[in-house]
């Protein structure tokens, strides 16, 4: 649903602070624990949730998210269950936007129309599908927009001025600026360069620009949040989950609690960012 996303960013703009966008892998390490993690995210200060759809061959992800996907698949996660997770979450939270993030093949096999209907009904607000560039918009982007689901596009440092309008054309909800060329979980680039890049994108669009790749701490979140409309954190959360698991890969008492602590810290970072910028 596009309204929930637009309202969330409008409210944050009025509040004068950037969004904290948190990613986790649906079904990692099991459905029940993963749903608990999802429910804990907004309570800990996350404004937008990216719900990862596991895929056997995640070509743009680093080792942390690859392994998280393998854990989820080993735990029996499927695309149908990931949609169900959103549906379960919506029973108690009707305000936090949910973005499904992953790769195209499981959606293609599920069936595009059926997927969009089920996603909409489950309360999903947007999609990030890594391997569908603008050249492939007929596949999913156009049908999603027609049904009222946001299609959020990645812009990268290789997206030059010439290409940017094409990338932004059918983008809605927000723009996800991937702050470096590389895979998820790589090192954080110089925050001062990010301000320029965000400005370059903003010259072409009124959509909020969220920045991700490499954000691990409250300080990173504060620094990036000073120039972006949102800060995306993924690998740090996935790593936190991995480090909490028992030796045989099961969730422990620290699994949900650890994510809560990390997200509360990151949330304090985004909440401090504009105060710092205003000084």
């Amino acid at each position: 649903m596009t309204a929930r996303m637009d309202k969330r960013f409008a409210d944050l703009a009025a509040e004068g602070r950037p969004a904290l966008v948190t990613y986790f892998m649906g079904g990692d390490p099991d459905y029940a624990s993963s749903l608990e993690i999802m429910k804990a995210l907004p309570k800990a200060g996350s404004d937008v949730i990216e719900l990862g759809m596991p895929f056997s061959d995640p070509m743009a992800d680093g080792p942390a998210i690859q392994v998280a996907g393998q854990r989820a698949l080993a735990g029996g996660q499927t695309l149908a269950k990931t949609i169900q997770m959103a549906r379960d979450f919506r029973k108690e939270d009707d305000a936090t936007p949910i973005v499904l993030m992953g790769y195209y093949n499981p959606i293609y096999i599920y069936g595009v129309d059926r997927f969009l209907d089920d996603a909409l009904e489950a309360g999903i607000d947007g999609l990030i599908v890594v391997d569908l560039p603008p050249e492939m918009d007929d596949e999913l982007c156009i049908p999603a927009l027609a049904k009222g689901i946001n299609f959020i596009r990645l812009a990268t440092p290789t997206t030059d001025e010439k290409r940017l309008p094409a990338v932004l054309k059918n983008t809605s909800g927000f723009v996800y600026y991937v702050s470096m060329n590389g895979i998820t979980g790589s090192a954080l680039p110089d925050p001062s360069l990010i301000g320029g890049a965000v400005g370059r994108i903003k010259a072409h669009t009124r959509l909020p620009v969220c920045v991700g790749f490499g954000v691990k701490t409250a300080e990173h979140a504060r620094a990036i949040g000073a120039s972006a409309d949102g800060v995306v954190v993924g690998t740090a959360i996935v790593n936190q989950i991995a480090s909490s698991l028992t030796a045989d890969g099961k969730a422990s008492a620290a699994t949900v609690a650890g994510v809560e602590t990390l997200v509360m810290s990151l949330a304090s970072g985004v909440r401090a960012s504009r105060l710092a910028a205003a000084e």
Binding site: F55, S56, D57, P58, M59, A60, D61, G62, P63, Q66, Q70, L73, T78, L79, A80, Y103, Y104, N105, P106, I107, Y108, I109, Y110, V130, D131, L132, P133, P134, E135, M136, D138, R153, L154, A155, T156, P157, T158, T159, D160, R163, V167, V178, N181, G182, I183, S186
Partner: protein, 406 residues
Amino acid sequence: MNQSPNLNSYREGPDEDGRFGIFGGRFVAETLMPLILELQAEWDKAKTDPAFQAELKHLGAHYIGRPSPLYYAERLTQHLGGAKIYFKREELNHTGSHKINNCIGQILLAKRMGKTRIIAETGAGQHGVASATVAARFGFPCVVYMGATDVERQAPNVFRMKLLGAEVKPVTAGSGTLKDAMNEALRDWVTNVDDTYYLIGTAAGPHPYPELVRDFQAVIGTEAREQLLEAEGRLPDMVIAAVGGGSNAIGIFHPFLDDKNVQIVGVEAGGKGLDGELHCASLTAGSPGVLHGNRTYLLQDADGQIKEGHSISAGLDYPGIGPEHAWLHQIGRAEYVPIMDDEALEAFQLLTKLEGIIPALEPSHAIAEVIKRAPKMGKDQIILMNLSGRGDKDIFTVGKILGMEL
């Protein structure tokens, strides 16, 4: 988009979006899109540039050893008692297989584009060796991604690559085989976009790779067509080739696609049989999906997760196939059939004993299909088969299965 091909030709694909019917396309992360568009622009210029074509031809003749011979397999023909069997001897190429045709072409493209570093993926190691070879010849640093399982299974090729100066990076992610090596090469490419050229080894991946790899391999079919016309004064009745990703097959098929009376047969790895999980027959037992930049037939489960392929031949165990084969299969211009591990192994031994040629296990699958078909055909009929690689690399695998000490 999705326009139907010119009904008078099967050779005009892909369309401008890189599609063969519904197959192909450019399913890649945004980071890679500008690179793929740049590659396409350069390829469009190179394919009509006489200087590029001349250099390709020169290296083909003096470095690869082209044209490769067309060989009448007299004893195999007599043994089977049916159609006349001709082999296109790609196993005599430098580095021992058809892979070098593509590598020479792409390294010239990399040079034109001003790239300074080569990456490649490899399964059995044949493409890795061919990539390391051209990287040495042109003075590029080269990183080859290879599944950790394959590194262990294919030690001699790993050593060859290292001798040639390449860095072999074992991939432990996923199940540590070819598809994981390809994922890892794509990750490297996404990270090193400025200086790196990704030398894909088969006629698959995002557009324009399926087209350009095919065009570099089509020299096989173009030569064979001329050679056969000279030897027999006519075209073959049937062309047969083994299909993994499908580059040797599309290379020999493509120049014959519009010869309506030439039957075209691709042979997939049936492994231990299509009933179970231990095979790699993407076309005969898979379904359409999206992986590694293109829509094609894949081995996958009901949730769209990609399965592992199995074959006695490490060069055939990729769970996908080039998009042009997917299209030829769907429209029925080519027929694709599985051959089991044990049939390929028997064919391997028969050819070695009858013709004094030790074939690789990949074309041994094609030979097994020849063994099935030739006796049912008339003595005035002709089968052309692509003998795409030599079997030196496979003697350890075969020895182990036959219980011989090496």
